[in-house]
Symmetry: D2
Subunit: 339 residues, 4 copies
């Protein structure tokens, strides 16, 4: 941590602050110059609250040097984390695809889609039972009934299931029934939910918030990991920018950045990024080329009649075609497509 | 709602779509031109799902004409909503100020600050008991104990209390003890929480999400109102932009915009917008001048030792000075400062 | 400047870097810690290129402590700069209003508007002769002919004129004829134009770029000042964010921020911020309340037939009403409205 | 174009507006509903100014249906445009790489880099002679002398040269000496410069502005094309968002979006997007996978001593390694790498 003193600060005020840091078991180096003094702090600064220092009337600025996350930090855990869910494997050279409809709508629908995506090479089945919708008047998902239908589709195909948890009250039922627990973008900083999910034994898929920085996103993973659950997969799904042509702006740089900052695997959701089915393929290809460990893709057997997100869903046929290209791209990147 | 057909669409495909809309009890006007057909839909289009129409292979674009919100819509409720909490009144020409520390830290602290802010003219006391913190290693608030201390401060001063609810599990205790229930920016689209709060009888202070549009923000209010709780106060607290000098960018235009779109009152949080105590005054003045119905301001008796947000908290002395200017500005705007 | 070394850097590599800094006449303080060394550099670091240091393979991060601007820096010039144009005065407690149409359209139009805005208290006349338009097919302004019409309006009313320069080739004619030379938002980093304008003797109105940080904006003023022209007025006109309801998002915090960073005066353009005439008043009030030194407002005698920006232009009647409120607000802020 | 009337508009006011549109040779369809009338306009609406209509007191909203660009529009020019520069070919299945240093620094440097990048497979040489720098105190480029050195490097290697034009005054010398004329991101809406470049016979590389929408970017290309110069290559180089880890956020979705909207080729600059040399490779791979027609990459023989952008420049060795991967990725995408 670096503390820059205001020009003209008296020597005794500097010394008082230095003494305070030494009490916190930090080493302090002082650089004195004309009209500017810089303090360099080394030691374990994780517990030091930058805000509290910056309120000191003699302090001009405080700058953090070390990252505020530990368990998710690649520095302390150099090898890639690999998350296994059923036969699927995500991370460390293994690549798996999650596919399925935006929301579970009926037994026939979810089983048909599950069979289709399995045939094309998906390793996990997604499907929303509880749906976060902007409008209270939109379809809110089938709830627990939807969860049961997902289990039927799992029974029929063997695919592990991925679905979103929106409230701490469902932690028990998700712990029992769901294979990969999704935290949606709008709940990325629902800290109460993160803490509850941190106590679960099931792996977690943590979507990036619409306007969350890489550091905030990793800090949300840190919440889950601090609770004891270290099987976290990060999912880039596009951020909110000034550009309105796409639903969100896929931040493909997040993939190499997160891989440098953290050992956790990163997958990409091209469907929500684009918001338009015809753009899913180029974004999926770009994600793999940038180093992603997996994809999550919306597939619906009848997009025009989908209860949500039809405009960004692929038909099973288009998904099949896409998976051919995914395979070739995963190969080129020297990874293994795990089905 | 307006539907633009793709160039070259066959007459029979247009007719099929028109028939479908008529089944939904909508009137449809068709404008035919060279290479372009436009359908105008009138009637109650709230139930029409734009996404479902846009997936039709002959449709180029769908544009909404009516707002997707009803209960919060000024068109159907032209008079200003006034929310009364204790003696405080917010909206419709009445202006009240909420003040207090970022978090409740001790009995002595909260009572001292409560007395100070009351003396200077605040009408409500704020104080965090449950704190949403980016890091799992930061102080998370005193929890239920903090709530009890707020009640002691209320007993000592008569000020109604405002504090943030972070989980549905606390709805009962908040219903019993809290006067104005705050939904924080990070939970603005925690729809499960919104639904629960919609069943409460206590008024709600709904902060704008970091990157939420005006419409999304009003839709979150609509969630609460659809549940039966129509006493919602909207709070602008700065949005996330590319500018990093300030903690957030105060969107002062939100005040006149929301007042045109909705009848709900709007207050402003200059402390979180600026993130720096010396900027609170100019932003507070700007908010009132733009038409705000109230302010929420962080005040701490000892900012350098505050457990959070010290750098943006005013001392009681500075808050007192600010309130003098607030009074003059509220006067100039023709409103009444209600203490 | 602060340089953080990578963990594990050898002592001799640190010494080599320190020696290099000392050759640059900088004092260097070294803080050694377990796995982390911090160098604090003091002296004149303006000439030090951060990018060059950061490319050193042993360097983890470089952080600037001093601002990269000098002439515009309040630290070296504590008193407010006041820019006088004719009778108008902007800065240091004096407040003036610029008003007029988006573009000059005819002799009758510009003279009528000039007389109207003068009567209501404007101190300067604006009017576009050269117009930056997104589309090559839109009206591009009357050019030099428009400039002559502005001079006629000046002759008729005595109001000094403000108009935008879009190309270095017009520097001579602007030097001769224009009283306050405007650099538009889209040209804020047209460095070639900034250098040319820096050689002029006429004061400059520098609009903030759509996505420019405060520092970049001040650096553009520094370009002009480095050329010898120190009469620069900064103009906040809204930034580009995710919110699309308004044309731009007025960043009212820019006013106190710039006043802390620089001694240059700041005015606000509520017309381009809002993009809607009915929002001009609340934004103008907010700007004054936040400490602005002036306003620039679009006024047209016949908005529905304006050749551009009609939807955000006030009628002379509405401008007159606004000026009454502006006067009261300027008074409350303890400033003097100079006409 | 669609015009939505305000609720309660009188029939005669609607008729007056309809008559006005018919005078403009437009067909108008009227949809009447309870409290809402929608007008659909068809015909050539390019000349209709949306702003002028929206100022009509009875109009609630105006929505454009057709794109405002013609020459760049894929609808009127379905085949891909291919831009050839020397042996290089960009677009329509041909892929070429531009490489070279941020700025020309000396004869030895530019010739050495040119030979290196040619050997690795670059088809064009980049190098800044005139540099747009945020600070007036930073190195501003070698100017015309730099241009001569680029020509020497071209003579030595045969590589056509790409360099940025910053002012209309250099149009003649660029017309004579430069093979591909670059417009930088900060000048994307320097309309005066666009018009001048539109009269040149040399192809143009138009970088996207930091916060320009796809439509604005294409409109800037339209400026150049409207002047007669139809050889425009668009270059995505990252946009400004809230994320500060990367220098800019590479908007990889721009590639498929622009290809749908326009027939012009699109290349990507991963160096400026990332701002860090180690991130160039994954972003370059992602760009090709998303459908880009080329890359522009910063290469320097001695990055730690580069006069600018050293931290994002590749060494010739790293560039050589990258080109091996580029070749494989271009192959996989079914395109031809043209050297």
């Amino acid at each position: 941590m670096v503390v820059v003193m205001k020009p003209g600060t008296q020597q005794r005020d500097i010394e008082a602050l230095v003494a305070k840091f030494k009490e916190m078991d930090l080493d302090v180096g002082v650089t004195n110059g004309v009209g500017c003094t810089i303090l360099g702090l080394v030691g374990d600064t994780t517990a030091v609250d930058m805000d509290k220092i910056s309120i000191n009337p003699h302090v001009e600025r405080v700058m953090r040097v070390q990252e505020p996350y530990k368990k998710a930090n690649r520095k302390f855990h150099p090898e890639d984390t690999v998350v296994a869910v059923g036969k699927a494997k995500i991370g460390g050279g293994s690549f798996s695809v999650v596919a399925g409809p935006c929301s579970v709508e009926s037994q026939a629908q979810i089983i048909a889609v599950a069979e289709d995506v399995k045939r094309s090479g998906a390793a996990l089945l997604r499907g929303g039972a509880f749906k976060p919708r902007t409008s209270p008047y939109s379809f809110q998902g089938m709830g627990l009934e939807g969860l049961e239908l997902l289990l039927e589709a799992k029974a029929a195909t063997g695919l592990p299931i991925v679905t979103e948890i929106m409230s701490p009250r469902y932690v028990e039922v998700f712990e029992e029934k769901v294979d990969l627990v999704q935290i949606g973008a709008r709940n990325m900083q629902n800290f109460d939910l993160l803490k509850e999910v941190g106590k679960m034994s099931k792996p977690v898929l943590l979507k990036r918030g619409l306007s969350s920085s890489y550091e905030e996103w990793i800090m949300s993973a840190e919440y889950i990991m601090a609770g004891g659950n270290e099987n976290v997969i990060l999912c880039e799904r596009g951020i909110r920018t000034f550009e309105t042509y796409t639903r969100n702006t896929l931040d493909v740089s997040a993939i190499p950045a997160i891989k440098k900052m953290s050992h956790l695997p990163v997958i990409v959701d091209p469907s929500h990024s684009a918001g338009m089915y015809w753009m899913v393929e180029p974004l999926a290809m770009a994600a793999i080329a940038a180093g992603a460990d997996g994809l999550i893709i919306e597939v619906h057997n009848d997009p025009p009649h989908a209860k949500c997100d039809g405009q960004q869903s692929l038909t099973p046929e288009n998904f099949g075609r896409l998976m051919g290209k995914v395979g070739a791209m995963v190969d080129l990147m020297g990874k293994t497509l795990v089905k």
